[in-house]
Amino acid sequence: MLVIRLFEEKVEDLFTRGLVKGTAHPAIGQEAIAVGICSKLRKGDYVTSTHRGHGHFIAQGGDPNRIMAELFGKETGYSRGRGGSQVMADFSIGFLGANGITGGSIALASGAALALKNKAKRGIVACFFGDGATNQGSFHEALNMAAIWSLPVVYVCENNMYAMSMRATDSVSIESLATRADAYGFPGVSIDGNDLTAVQDAMHTACKRARAGDGPTLLECCTYRMSGHSRGDQRAYRSRAEETAWKKRDPIRATRKQLIADGELTAEQDREIRREVRAAVSTAITFAKRSPEPDPATLNDGVFA
């Protein structure tokens, strides 16, 4: 829970204050997917992410300080300022990277799964991408190969109803993106991506399948991007009414309510957590601000390994 909130608050903060240059794609409203998926991964498993990757990274255990520092372009950032919002990774925790190319990580994830399978390491790969990315050729090619080789990968489609300004329902002619798995001969499942438990349950099944060597699963997690696509998005392509309706289904609120109802969280604990998270975010910002700029003299270093 802490992670979800940390994530949301952080990204929102970044986004609204506009403290960093470049661009950022907040995943506000999609937190239950990141947390639900990553909570089912073990050491030796891997994650690939997208342009909307801060949430995945934090859910996988990324250090908010270093993520924030990367957004600020600082030397202490995950990519030492070289990557920015869309290009950061921490292999030590299994996070193989965000990705600036829509659909770009799908083949990478599948290749990582091929390496894992060949080594019989029993690790699996969780591959995040959006509804828009399912229209890329690389989606098709990679899912087909993962199918014929029974690779240990879970394809997690975050269907947030939009690819930038394009409605998912305008970009495909099918009811559910999960159907696309039929073209490759493995299971496709559509779930409520704002329901943490539903995500965890579906991921549990998909992981079992992958770990058993039975091949991939496509999980379509239906959700809503509560914010704009990226900084500067006026959201003219959708109605405020639609946004308000989805606000009622905010996964953070839903999860909190559920936890309180289940007696796993008290109002006091909740306040405490919020306080801690807010503090952690401030710390991250302070860390980022105080970190040194990269040294321009190092510009040419590290092009080759």
């Binding site: 470049g22 372009g73 070289r82 990557g83 920015g84 050729g137 700029e293 990269p294 510009l299 040419n300």
Partner: protein
């Protein structure tokens, strides 16, 4: 003449050509209500409707291939690729299909296709949203490549590109969109593809640039003038085919040459221009040439590193001054 922005100039060109010829259609991601990532196509969906402003799923390779197919039946598609970095996904339809069609199929086939795309760095968008790939396409027989720097040239060359019966890559540097300048109004004429423009006359050194760096080169020339160096600035405008005539004529007058190119040093268009000068006017040069380019590194996101990587007016001026013996 009224002054408008580079984006507005492009939009005017698109709108005028769409009104003039019903075969002209726009294809791309988020080019409708959103107006394109940089706002160039704003308002055109309302004006021309969804048959003329075709919003696509994220399938760059596919819709460029489709644009090629449509062009074979007489359509004149203008495709937007949201960032030049994503041109990596459309190399096959452009190089293996579009560029060869007229050569192999002869008069029956034409491919009047324009691919528009914002290039370059300067906005800290990071290594996959800041690249310059002009050299790849200038290396492809059958493709034309233009990269105008002023709003007026943007409008005129866009008109020419749309009316051209060949595939044209139209490079719009993202730093240029907000820049303003005088632009002729409705019914203005196309500017011919393949002609460089002497942006400033001078006698001491020729500075060649294009796209965003043409503006930086002019600023460099201003700075050099203060030091008593009279620089000529050539805005190439077209990168394929190259207008070597204008270049050679200038270099023969000035005897010194600086080429500014935002692409990584190895294999950029700067090399191509440089070697042609070498081949053609060896005897006229008073000294070696200087190229001001990005080094062979990915473009970093951090503003500090990005500024260290990219060519700019200071570096251009320094190279010219060094050639002129000022340092």
């Amino acid at each position: 003449m009224r002054e408008i922005s580079y984006s507005d100039a492009l939009r005017e060109a698109l709108q005028e050509e769409m009104s003039r010829d019903s075969e002209v259609l726009l294809i791309g991601e988020d080019i409708g209500t959103y107006g394109g990532a940089f706002g160039v196509t704003r308002g055109l969906l309302d004006r021309f409707g969804p048959d003329r402003v075709v919003e696509t799923p994220i399938s760059e390779g596919g819709f460029v291939g489709m644009a090629v197919g449509a062009s074979l039946l007489g359509a004149r598609p203008v495709v937007e690729i949201m960032f030049m970095d994503f041109m990596t996904l459309v190399v096959d339809p452009l190089v293996n299909q579009a560029a060869k069609l007229h050569y192999v199929y002869g008069e029956q086939a034409a491919c009047p296709l324009v691919v528009r795309t914002p290039s370059g760095g300067g906005r800290s968008y990071g290594p996959t949203h800041s690249q310059v790939f002009e050299a790849w396409f200038a290396h492809t027989p059958g493709l034309k490549v233009v990269a105008p720097s002023t709003p007026a040239d943007a409008k005129g060359l866009m008109k020419a590109a749309i009316r051209d019966n060949n595939p044209v890559l139209f490079v719009e540097h993202k730093m240029l969109y907000p820049t303003r300048g005088p632009v002729p109004g409705r019914g203005s004429r196309p500017i011919p593809i393949g002609k460089a423009r002497i942006a400033r006359r001078g006698t001491d050194v020729t500075i060649i640039a294009w796209s965003w760096l043409a503006l930086e080169a002019e600023a460099a020339a201003d700075a050099l003038a203060v030091d008593g160096i009279d620089a000529e600035v050539i805005d190439m405008r077209t990168l394929s085919p190259l207008d070597m005539e204008t270049v050679i004529e200038s270099v023969q007058r000035t005897g010194r040459l600086v080429i500014a190119d935002e692409a990584p040093r190895s294999g950029g268009v700067s090399a191509d221009i440089g070697v042609r000068v070498f081949e053609q006017v060896f005897d006229y040069l008073d000294g070696p040439i200087r190229r001001v380019t990005t080094p062979d590194v990915p473009v970093p996101a951090s503003p500090v590193l990005e500024q260290a990587a990219l060519p700019n007016r200071e570096r251009i001026a320094a190279a010219a001054a060094e050639l002129c013996g000022a340092y």
